[in-house]
Symmetry: C2
Subunit: 204 residues, 2 copies
Amino acid sequence: MKNDLTTEQKIKAAAREVFIAKGFAACSTREIAKVSGMNVALVNYYFRSKTELFKLVFQDAMEEFVNSMVEVFSSDKSLEDKIRLLIEQEYEFLSRHPELPGFIVNELHREEGYEVDGSYFEKLLNTGIVEECQRACAAGKMREIDLISLTLLIMSNCDFPFMSKNLMKGIHKLSNDAYENQLNTHKKIVTDMLVSYLFPQKSI
Amino acid sequence: MKNDLTTEQKIKAAAREVFIAKGFAACSTREIAKVSGMNVALVNYYFRSKTELFKLVFQDAMEEFVNSMVEVFSSDKSLEDKIRLLIEQEYEFLSRHPELPGFIVNELHREEGYEVDGSYFEKLLNTGIVEECQRACAAGKMREIDLISLTLLIMSNCDFPFMSKNLMKGIHKLSNDAYENQLNTHKKIVTDMLVSYLFPQKSI
DNA sequence: AACAGTTTTAAACAAGTGTTTAAATCAATC
DNA sequence: GATTGATTTAAACACTTGTTTAAAACTGTT
């Protein structure tokens, strides 16, 4: 098993599992302790408080979430290929961490609570993607669009399909497997739609 | 104020407010009682339990959520206009109930818990929209797309921008007002993108 | 083997949880 | 005005919560 982990690591791993699955409010320190196989007191011994432990878990989640995008923008492909690659990679990443966007979005929602540490995103902005988009727009290679809407377009079409799994399964009466398949075909649709919207073919 | 409401109604209204704002787990019956201005025991007197009360609130939310779409599909406009109108109306509805999709998606997520009562969606299917789409596809008026992906496309691009408000505000360091404005311009983008994807211009 | 420091434990703490009880208040009927 | 029923109340219930305590067990060093 994972007996090579330290107690501290075991607790943090368990906390991540439980926090992401049920959210901050819906789980207890005792549950985290039980999942980690450790004593309740150890949670506070290593992490001071449930809240402090949550902050760590949330930060990690946020970093993973953002990092999955940074690589792509750092590559030296064309802008169109970057978008294609980004969607591809996001769907791959989210297949492995399907609960992550829901976790982040939801915990950010609960009473303005955990503010977003902007530093996560500076990394993303430092890839030069913003300037690249501006240049592409100016050169007429890409549709004029502000960065916020671009972010929204991509995240909406990548994250929401994973977040809304149970809702979609309910609406269309789908099994787990059926929905996984659906996600795969949806990825292609989203790629087509976004690329053809952002990089319209010139009419002759 | 709203003193014309019965005690039962006051409690249910308060429960809705608190449940939607913080989620089932993060709020207590005492908080609901306090917000409603009533005694704790009355919550159980009228609704048997916190869980039972939640089910009522969730059902109502679900119904509102779905009803906002049914009207549009029942109208006698062209399919393209229905899509346009649907997006328009969804953004308008979500401006008034911005926390609704997040509430639904998130509470459905928590441990497979509340299954989706399919009956909500039968109403939607009974509008004949499915057949209309199939006919439009067959006639080449609309891109071939399955109903699930169509649902996903529309909901992703309508709901996610509202659900991710705090995340987006954090990423792009926006004020509340700035984000409200952003939502307005995003609505147009989404409409353009979806319509031109679903109803592509024939190449000459 | 004795010590010091860290790690782990069971137990306790006060505060908060959902829910119930039994008495008090209210409203309407006779 | 007494009686019945529904409504409201404060108090209590047993249990869970996050956190702390103080003792135990373990570690490595002398």
